[in-house]
């Protein structure tokens, strides 16, 4: 009777060690493969794609403003989602914006969201209106004057598209492409573009 628990412990320990030694039973994953947990886009897929986008932007765009001595301003005008999945477009742009602003070489305009009359936050113009000279609650020596908002130099936009999922045995292959474009507002020309493919092989 006493031997039973010890035997069980030994078996469990062997199983535990075997689990750690067993090599992965995964399939070949290409270099550009981001995440293999689901055919649907996952947050890690977004982060990996954004990493490639930011790397490309830092290397291929020259961070030039179209006005001398001015930091370049970028206006985000949306990402068209052509997939059946819910991509969080704000997250994609959020990561890009955080990375770009942190460099101190360019910034994003918060005044140009066409869907909100108050800028991206919804409060920008209201805050400026609040500081009007006729508002007796505001110390006019510290008030922001109208006419100081800087125009954007560039427009950032993109689209996401997908291909039909392919099933082969127990493997499902999903493909997406995230495409981002930076366009000059002065000339309308493309100054930078990046297309990031995401291919996922998911075992059912």
């Amino acid at each position: 009777m006493k031997q039973l628990p010890m035997g069980l412990i030994a078996v469990l320990c062997v199983l535990a060690l075997a689990g750690c030694v067993t090599p992965p039973r995964g399939d070949y994953v290409p270099t550009s493969e981001p995440g293999i947990s689901s055919t649907a886009p996952r947050p890690h897929d977004v982060r990996l794609a954004v990493t490639e986008i930011v790397d490309s932007m830092f290397n291929e765009w020259d961070f030039a403003s179209q006005a001398a001595g001015k930091m370049p301003y970028i206006a985000f005008s949306g990402i068209e989602n052509q997939t059946p999945y819910n991509w969080n477009q704000d997250e994609i742009v959020g990561w890009i914006e955080e990375s770009v602003v942190r460099t101190g070489k360019a910034t994003f305009s918060n005044a140009t969201d066409p869907n909100r009359r108050g800028g991206r936050s919804g409060q920008l113009y209201r805050q400026i209106d609040f500081q009007d000279p006729d508002n007796e609650y505001v110390d006019q020596s510290t008030a922001v004057k109208k006419g100081g908002i800087q125009g954007a130099d560039y427009e950032l936009f993109g689209r996401i598209y997908t291909y039909e999922e392919l099933r082969s045995g127990r493997i499902t292959e999903a493909n997406y492409v995230i495409e981002m474009t930076l366009s000059s507002l002065r000339t309308g020309g493309t100054v930078w573009k990046k297309m990031v493919p995401i291919r996922k092989n998911v075992r059912r």
Partner: protein, 139 residues
Amino acid sequence: MNMRMVLLAAALAGAVLAGGCISSAPQEVEFDDGIYTVKSHSLTLRQHVRLTRRTVDFNKNGFLQAQIEAVNLGRKDVQFQYRFRWLNEQKMLIPAATAIWKPVSVGARSTEYFTSTAPTTDARDFFMEVRFVHDSTRW
């Protein structure tokens, strides 16, 4: 008493099983003042992937770019994850939204290049971390 021991052993084995299969400790290779510093094992990872060359340059925007060349000496593909971390002049870590683990597969007998660009122009040095992980096969 016996039942308690069985339950304890099962819990212990479960913990070991889960801990061993979810992740491995990171293996790091650092480069400082012309000297490689390997925090574990050697420059040959898992006795298959040899890190053969390190290249660093500033791009036209002043960002540090890094490239590590790796050769898979084995006859099997090797899969692992890596990420670049960046240090400023004072050797302080520069936080970056893009410092995430990237999966990679180096084909048998082939060469792979890992590249990354610093998150700010303050970066003066870098190190690459490597870890070997695999998904659990127990469902």
